[in-house]
């Protein structure tokens, strides 16, 4: 156990945890931040995704010690019910997801993609999302959401 300082959604949090403990469990158990979810613990599915310095990372395999000193953003930190992030607005507009258990990965990876590449081609979009699993098969709505989010982020209506 050791004390670590984490910057999450713009706020600093002090935690006592094993430096090798994956960030996922620190967020969930120490800080009651529930959005990143355990899917596989192997980095294979993306249900535990958070943004670290704007990049989508798998919190289930990222040791706490490698997360300290970085800007972490969780799904909840992206937008609020009153002011959803355009990516969230797009996913809501398209009524994406069945169970939604996987959605941290899709929403946050889309945000990271569009920040870097505001006009992804179909192939670029698919490639950026390839490492994610949606067991329910909501991909058609997900793709529509990504395209819609790209429009919204460019200020389109």
């Amino acid at each position: 156990m050791s004390r670590a300082s984490l910057k999450i959604n713009g706020q600093t949090h002090e935690v006592d945890a094993d430096p090798l403990c994956p960030l996922l469990y620190v967020l969930r158990d120490n800080l009651s931040m529930n959005n990143p979810r355990f899917g596989c613990g192997l980095g294979q599915c993306g249900a535990c995704t958070v943004l670290m310095d704007g990049r989508a990372v798998r919190s289930c395999t990222l040791p706490l010690e490698r997360a300290t000193g970085h800007d972490i953003v969780t799904l909840e930190g992206l937008g609020t019910p009153d002011k959803p992030h355009p990516v969230q607005a797009a996913f809501i507009e398209e009524q994406t997801f069945q169970c939604g258990y996987c959605l941290n990965g899709w929403v946050l990876t889309t945000k990271a993609l569009l920040d870097k590449n505001p006009n992804p081609t179909d192939a670029e979009m698919r490639s950026a999302l390839e490492s994610l699993v949606c067991r329910c098969g909501s991909h058609m709505q997900i793709f529509a959401s990504v395209r819609r989010a790209a429009e919204l982020m460019k200020g389109g209506a």
């Binding site: 469990y25 529930n34 596989c40 613990g41 069945q98 169970c99 179909d122 067991r135 329910c136 793709f143």
Partner: protein
């Protein structure tokens, strides 16, 4: 509108008081939150009382109590619409409380795509009776007969004089809505009846509209609570350690290394059940790796995987059922001008839920127990856990909280049983989450199915006879209703025998026979499980149980018959099914697809590596009709099959929420495409070896079709049938038929992996 909470007091009178249940109020997003409390005896509400179904509060909000959970397809929103419709009020003022044994009637839980078809019936009838009662109250209040009143938006007013009115909110204090209802059926078929009769569907204004699903916005905004997020005071975390293979028994446990891990508390051993308990989740995960468990060698109960279908053919069936016998198919086939024969094989498949099972259980020493689980049938769990704990059923409360999409019985009930066993052992609330390999390897499986088909045709291509024989593992090796202690994996490991299995057959036209022939003989055999207790290959319901497997056979074979008869694949289907709705879905799909009527395979085969084709399949299931067309590309070099477009026409009678149905169907198509192209449980002699997303791959972004067209056929005059799973059924055959159309090669074993397709193409070349 501000979020409302259900006050404890609301429930104290009847339930002994207990829950704090928040729901989503229109514009404000609040997580569904459920908390534990001390409880004495909390009996499931009686369906004979109106207030067991609906309660009106003084703000004019109707709370609806249903034993049905949501499993990700939007039924909560549909229920809202159905109740709001009957009460002529805004759906924003309807809240749905789902599946809590202390608060909701026992409607059997989720199963068989029946939540709207059956589960909504008592909600509709209860709402109609609430409307009747409220109209009576308004009539007294306004001093005019009920037939002079009208209701709009929750306000009862005098027809022609809106100034004389009284709102539901005003009426709320006037009655307890506790009128007696006549109850019929139970569980899934539970229904109620009273003097208030539901509206004629032609009057609907809310039902049939694509209201946004109540759960999507809060989920996307990170404000939703899943069962993995339930925390109760004093809760500890646990992981389970399973046997080293099928039939292995415990010899010795050494937890000395685990004791070095900060937060480790104890290892619980009960027979062959091993659970590791720690203060936090990370400690539990590490400790479960550190605990050394010695097992006896496994039983080697499984055959080599390559011998699976051979085994199924040679082992004696444990049960046989003749499902269809019309005329004399054998004789007709023997004497036919043309005979067609083929066999089809479909593997064990995993539910492979997005989240592994997770549950929290709090078992007190006096037996009073609360369990939070995402399993589909909470009232069954209540009964099973009461048996497991040897306590009265009313002492056990099961609270459903949404989990990852379950698609049957993936193991969520087993996880909950693990939590119950552990909490009872250590006297604390325990949260258990399975690791990924626990879920993939030890979660229950959809059964492997093989079907032998034969048919006879006359010289002019008329099909005179068809014979169907299936050989399958039971769809109910553990009973699909998890209401007995012996049903749960953990309980079996503690030594409780699996006495709950039933023989469920892979039937010709499971639920709805698709075709009629002058001579038809259909027989189904169930073969014994490899190992009867706590087997990683125990079989149970997976989305549309046996449907995709038997349809893969029947609908591929129909294509083979079309080839033999020299006719178009849609034409042969229409010829042998005398159902207008089946014809309609086939025709609607064909029209949308721009189907060119011709025989398969495609004659103008491209000369390059990539061949294209299209295939069709029909699905009929409990009143729902599905016509699916798949357009595919087959890479002859790599064997990779890619679906470029699906067209699916779907008729489930009255549609409650078209957009929710459309997205559910699109998701069904992708999931069943994944099952068709990739999914196969792998195993060695002792163990399941497909244990994660690498060894059990599913479809990912790169292979999602460019386009999916869903054509919804609405029949307001026909009561709703299911939409949750019927569109999973025709997909495997639609794809396999398209591969044949593209290449002339018929793949009769699923999944259609590149290796298999490539081998089949190579064999074709060899044999010319």
């Amino acid at each position: 509108m501000a979020p409302r909470s259900i006050s404890r007091r609301d429930f104290v009178k009847e339930t002994g008081g207990l829950v704090i249940g928040f729901s989503i109020a229109s514009s404000t997003i609040v997580p569904r939150l459920l908390a534990a409390d001390a409880l004495t005896s909390v009996a499931t509400p009686s369906p004979a009382r109106l207030d067991s179904w609906l309660r009106l509060d003084k703000s004019g909000t109707i709370r609806v109590f249903t034993g049905k959970p949501e499993i990700g397809m939007g039924v909560e929103t549909a229920f809202k619409q159905i109740v709001a419709e009957e009460l002529d009020m805004s759906p924003d003022h309807v809240e749905i409380i789902m599946a809590d044994t202390a608060l909701t009637t026992n409607q059997g839980g989720v199963g068989g795509s029946t939540s709207i078809m059956l589960g909504a019936k008592p909600l509709r009838n209860a709402a109609a009776n609430a409307r009747y009662l409220l109209t009576q109250l308004a009539s007294q209040r306004l001093g005019l007969p009920a037939d002079q009143l009208e209701i709009k938006n929750g306000i009862v007013s005098v027809r022609g004089d809106a100034s004389k009115s009284v709102s539901y909110a005003d009426l709320a204090g006037g009655s307890d809505l506790n009128d007696a209802l006549k109850v019929t059926g139970d569980g899934f078929s539970l229904d109620v009846e009273g003097p208030g009769k539901p509206k004629d569907p032609s009057q609907y204004t809310v039902v049939g509209k694509s209201l946004p699903r109540v759960d999507i916005a809060p989920k996307v905004l990170g404000k939703w609570q899943y069962v993995v997020d339930v925390r109760v005071p004093g809760m500890v975390h646990a992981r389970v350690i399973r046997p080293s293979g099928v039939g292995a028994t415990l010899v010795h446990v050494d937890d000395s290394a685990a004791k070095q891990i900060a937060g480790y508390q104890q290892t619980v051993v009960k027979g062959n059940f091993v659970g590791v308990v720690a203060q936090n989740e990370w400690a539990a995960i590490q400790a479960a790796k550190a605990v050394k468990v010695t097992w006896t060698p496994p039983k080697q109960s499984f055959p080599e995987q390559s011998d699976l279908y051979k085994h199924m053919r040679t082992v004696a069936p444990k049960a046989t059922k003749e499902t269809h016998k019309l005329g004399d198919a054998e004789t007709a086939i023997a004497g036919a001008a043309k005979k067609v024969e083929a066999s089809y094989e479909f593997p064990f498949q995993s539910h492979a839920t997005m989240g592994p099972g997770c549950a929290v259980a709090d078992v007190h020493t006096d037996g009073i127990t609360t369990v939070w689980s995402g399993g589909q049938k909470p009232h069954d769990l209540q009964k099973g856990f009461a048996e497991l704990l040897h306590v009265d059923r009313d002492k056990v409360r099961v609270i459903w909280v949404e989990d990852a999409g379950s698609y049957g019985r993936p193991g969520f009930e087993d996880t909950a049983a693990d939590a119950v066993i552990l909490s009872q052992a250590i006297g604390k609330p325990v949260r258990v989450q399975w690791m990924r390999d626990d879920m993939h390897a030890w979660g229950a499986k959809g059964p492997a199915v093989l079907c032998d088909m034969s048919a006879g045709l006359s010289a002019n291509g008329e099909v005179s006879a068809l014979k169907f024989t299936s050989i399958a593992f039971s769809g109910g090796d553990i009973m699909f209703r998890p209401d007995a202690a012996g049903n749960y994996l953990g309980a079996q490991l503690t030594g409780i025998p699996n006495t709950t299995g039933v023989d469920e057959f892979a039937q010709f036209g499971s639920n709805t026979p698709p075709y009629s022939f002058p001579n038809l003989h259909a027989v189904a055999h169930v073969v014994p499980a490899f190992y009867g207790v706590a087997s990683p290959l125990r079989t149970t319901h997976l989305r549309d149980p046996e449907g995709p497997a038997t349809s893969f056979a029947v609908e591929s074979f129909m294509d083979e018959l079309a080839v033999a008869a020299g006719i178009d694949p849609i034409e042969i289907r229409i010829r042998y099914i005398d159902e207008k709705r089946a014809h309609a879905v086939l025709k609607a799909a064909a029209e949308k697809a721009g189907w060119d009527s011709r025989t398969s395979p495609r004659k103008s085969a491209a000369s390059g590596d990539v061949a294209t084709g299209r295939g069709v399949a029909l699905g009929t299931r409990n009143g729902t009709y599905v016509g699916t067309i798949a357009e595919v590309e087959v890479n002859r070099k790599t064997g990779v099959v890619r679906v470029t477009r699906f067209i699916c026409a779907h008729d489930c009678g009255l549609i409650i929420n078209p957009e929710a149905v459309r997205t559910t169907i699109a998701a069904n198509l992708i999931q069943s495409m994944s099952r068709t192209l990739h999914e196969e449980v792998t195993f060695d002699r002792d163990n399941v070896t497909s244990v994660d997303w690498r060894s059990y791959p599913v479809s990912r972004a790169s292979e999602i079709p460019a386009q999916i067209d869903v054509v919804l056929i609405n029949h307001p005059e026909i009561p709703s049938s299911g939409a949750g799973e019927p569109s999973s059924r025709p997909t495997p055959a639609a794809i396999a038929n398209a591969v044949f159309d593209a290449t002339g090669v018929r793949i009769r074993r699923g999944p259609l992996t590149p290796v298999r397709v490539k081998a089949a193409l190579a064999a074709q070349e060899q044999h010319g």
